[in-house]
C-alpha cells in the first residue's frame, strides 16, 4: 500500500491482467488475417496470412458506406458538441444570472435520464417529422449533451477569475474572452472531450439501429450488426467459416481507427476521465 518499490508479484499480476484485456483484441485482428477455415481448425496458430476475409467482407456488406455515414455524423454532431458544450460550461462556471442553479439542475437531471425511455417517442417524433432514415435523425438528438457541459463547467471553473477580468479590462467582447482567453487555457480538456465524444459517437448503436433502416444511412456499427445476424442463418459447412472470417475482418477494421486515435491521444483521454470523475 505504501509507496515502496513494487514487488515482482505485483508485476506478474499486472501482466496477467494486461494479457486478459489485450488478448481478445489481438486474437480478433490476427485471426482476421488467416484463411477462414484455419480460424476454426487451429484457432491458436498463425501461419499463412491473407486478406481474403477482408475481400469477402467488402463484397458482402456496404462497410464503406457505414464508415462514410459514421464520419458525417461524427463531424457534424461532434462539431456541435465541441462548440456548444464549452460555451454552456463557461456560462455556468463564470457568470451569475437569474435561475442559474435551476437551469444547471436541469442539465444534471438529464444526465440521469436513461436513453431507453426516449427511444419510442423519439422514433415517433422522427417519423412525424419525416426524418426516419435521414442524417438529421442521427445527428440532432443528443448533439449538445449534458455530460459534456457538466464536465466543461468543472474544467473552466478551475480558471482564475482574474484572467477573465483582465480580458474584460482589455475591452474584449464576451465571446472574444471565451475564444481568446478561455479556450486556449482549457486546450487539454478540449482534447479529452474530443476523444470521448469521438468514442461515444463512433460506438453509438441503440439509437442508430432504431432510427435508420435503409442501407444508405446506416452507420458503421449498424452495418456490423447486420453482418453478425447472418451468422445464425449460416451455421453450416464452409459458409460458416467464411462468415466467421468476415465477422472478424469487419470487427477488426471497425476497431482499428479508434484504437489508433486512442493510443496517440491516450494521455489526454485518461487524464480527461480522471479529471471528469468524482474524486474521493
Amino acid at each position: 500500500m505504501s509507496q515502496n518499490r513494487p514487488g515482482i508479484g505485483q508485476y506478474v499480476l499486472l501482466t496477467l491482467l494486461a494479457i486478459v484485456f489485450l488478448y481478445p483484441i489481438w486474437w480478433a485482428v490476427s485471426s482476421s488475417l488467416k484463411p477462414a477455415a484455419e480460424i476454426i481448425a487451429s484457432p491458436l496458430s498463425i501461419g499463412e496470412l491473407t486478406l481474403d476475409n477482408y475481400r469477402a467482407m467488402f463484397a458482402d456488406v456496404p462497410i464503406g458506406t457505414g464508415f462514410l455515414n459514421t464520419a458525417i455524423v461524427l463531424l457534424v454532431k461532434g462539431g456541435m458538441t465541441m462548440v456548444f458544450c464549452p460555451l454552456a460550461g463557461y456560462a455556468f462556471a463564470k457568470y451569475d444570472f437569474p435561475f442559474k442553479n435551476l437551469l444547471f439542475g436541469v442539465v444534471l437531471l438529464t444526465l440521469m435520464l436513461p436513453t431507453l425511455v426516449l427511444i419510442i417517442p423519439l422514433l415517433l417524433e422522427m417519423s412525424a417529422l419525416g426524418w426516419v432514415n435521414t442524417y438529421q435523425a442521427l445527428i440532432l438528438p443528443g448533439s449538445v449533451d449534458a455530460f459534456s457541459i457538466f464536465w466543461m463547467r468543472q474544467t473552466i471553473a478551475a480558471i482564475p477569475n482574474e484572467l477573465i477580468d483582465a480580458g474584460r479590462v482589455d475591452g474584449a467582447g464576451e465571446f472574444g474572452i471565451f475564444y481568446k482567453v478561455v479556450l486556449p487555457v482549457i486546450r487539454p480538456g478540449l482534447a479529452a472531450l474530443a476523444v470521448l465524444t469521438t468514442m461515444n459517437i463512433y460506438n453509438d448503436f441503440v439509437w442508430p439501429v432504431v432510427a435508420v433502416n435503409d442501407t444508405a444511412h446506416q452507420t458503421l456499427q449498424v452495418v456490423l450488426s447486420t453482418l453478425a445476424q447472418n451468422v445464425t442463418g449460416n451455421r453450416i459447412g464452409a459458409d460458416f467459416a467464411t462468415v466467421w472470417g468476415e465477422l472478424l475482418a469487419a470487427g477488426s477494421i471497425a476497431m482499428l481507427p479508434l484504437l489508433v486515435i486512442f493510443v496517440l491521444l491516450q494521455r489526454h483521454f485518461i487524464n480527461g476521465i480522471l479529471a471528469g470523475s468524482v474524486k474521493g
Binding site: A88, F92, F97, P121, V209
Partner: protein, 290 residues
C-alpha cells in the same frame, strides 16, 4: 447597452442545450408519458386505456423474467467489477511502478473498442463447436461448454463481455480517487504499526467510497439498459435467458406495441432510479449520514 448584452450573454451560451433538450428530450419524455396510458398496436387508432399497460406488464411473466435476467446480470457484473476495479487501481497507484503508462493503456483499450465489433468476436470465441474457448478446454481434457447455447451459461458469458469491456474504465475512475490520497498518510500509518490490510480498510476504502458510489450508479444504469450485447450475440436466447430489460423494451418496438413499450420504459426508469438511490445511500461514508 453593454451591461444589457452581458446580462443576455449567459442565456445565449446555454441556449443550444435547452433547444436540443426541449426538442429531443423533454418533448419526447412528455409524449412517452402520455403514450404509456394509451393502447396503440400496429396500425390501429390510439386510445386512452389508463393504467392498463402498466397492469399488463406487472402481471406479465415476460416482463418479470426480463427484469430477473437484468438483475442476475447486475449481480454477475457490479460486485465483481468493483472488487476487480479496486484491485487494479491499487496495483496501478504506486508512482514508482515501471511501465505504468503501458498498463493504464492496456486496461482501458477494451473500453475504446466498439461494442458491436467485440460482440462479434464473442460469437466466434465462445462458439460451442468451433470456438477458441472450448478448443482450449478440450486441450486440457475438459468437455465442451455451451457458452451461448445453454441457459445456465448464456448470462455469465455476456456478463464477461461487459466486464471485459468496462473494468478498465472502473480501474481508472478508482485510480482517480486513490491518487487524491497523500502518500504520507500510509507512511504515518505503517509507523503506527498498522498492517497493510488495516491500511487498506481504514484509509484506501473510505477514500474511494465516493468513486465507488459513482461507478455503482452508472453501471446500474448501464446494466439495466443493456441492449447491444444480447441483441448482437444471443438475440435474447437461448429460451429468453438473455432477454434483458433493455432488449425486452426493444421487442415492443418491433411488435409495434408502443403504448406498452412506453409504460415499460417508465417502470424501468423508476426501478433504476430506486436502485441508484439505494446504492448511493449504502456507499455513503458513515459520518455523512444525516
Amino acid at each position: 447597452m453593454r451591461l444589457r448584452s452581458i446580462r443576455l450573454t449567459p442565456y445565449v451560451f446555454i441556449a443550444p442545450f435547452f433547444v436540443v433538450f426541449g426538442a429531443f428530450g423533454l418533448y419526447p419524455l412528455i409524449y412517452a408519458l402520455q403514450l404509456s396510458f394509451m393502447r396503440w398496436r400496429g396500425g390501429s387508432e390510439a386510445r386512452w386505456v389508463g393504467l392498463d399497460n402498466y397492469l399488463y406488464l406487472l402481471t406479465s411473466p415476460e416482463f418479470w423474467s426480463s427484469l430477473g435476467n437484468s438483475a442476475v446480470m447486475w449481480l454477475l457484473i457490479v460486485p465483481i467489477q468493483i472488487v476487480a476495479g479496486l484491485g487494479g487501481a491499487v496495483l496501478l497507484a504506486n508512482a514508482k511502478l515501471r511501465l505504468r503508462g503501458f498498463f493504464r493503456v492496456a486496461f482501458i483499450a477494451p473500453f475504446v473498442t466498439p461494442l458491436v465489433a467485440m460482440a462479434q468476436v464473442w460469437i466466434v470465441v465462445f462458439d460451442q463447436d468451433y470456438g477458441l474457448i472450448n478448443y482450449l478446454l478440450n486441450m486440457v481434457g475438459l468437455p465442451d461448454v455451451g457458452w451461448l447455447t445453454s441457459t445456465a451459461w448464456s448470462k455469465p458469458t455476456l456478463a464477461l463481455l461487459f466486464l471485459w469491456k468496462t473494468t478498465g474504465f472502473a480501474i481508472i475512475i478508482l485510480l482517480a480517487g486513490l491518487q487524491a490520497v497523500p502518500g504520507g498518510v500510509y507512511e504515518a500509518a505503517s509507523l503506527d504499526g498498522a498492517s497493510r490490510w488495516r491500511q487498506f480498510w481504514s484509509i484506501t476504502v473510505p477514500l474511494v467510497r465516493r468513486s465507488m458510489a459513482f461507478l455503482v450508479v452508472i453501471q446500474t444504469l448501464a446494466v439495466f439498459q443493456m441492449f447491444a450485447e444480447p441483441f448482437v450475440v444471443t438475440e435474447g436466447g437461448p429460451y429468453g435467458s438473455t432477454t434483458t430489460a433493455g432488449l425486452y423494451l426493444y421487442d415492443h418496438i418491433t411488435a409495434s406495441d408502443l403504448g406498452t413499450g412506453a409504460a415499460n420504459s417508465f417502470l424501468l426508469v423508476l426501478l433504476v432510479f430506486g436502485l441508484s438511490l439505494v446504492s448511493v445511500r449504502m456507499l455513503r461514508p458513515k459520518d455523512e449520514v444525516s
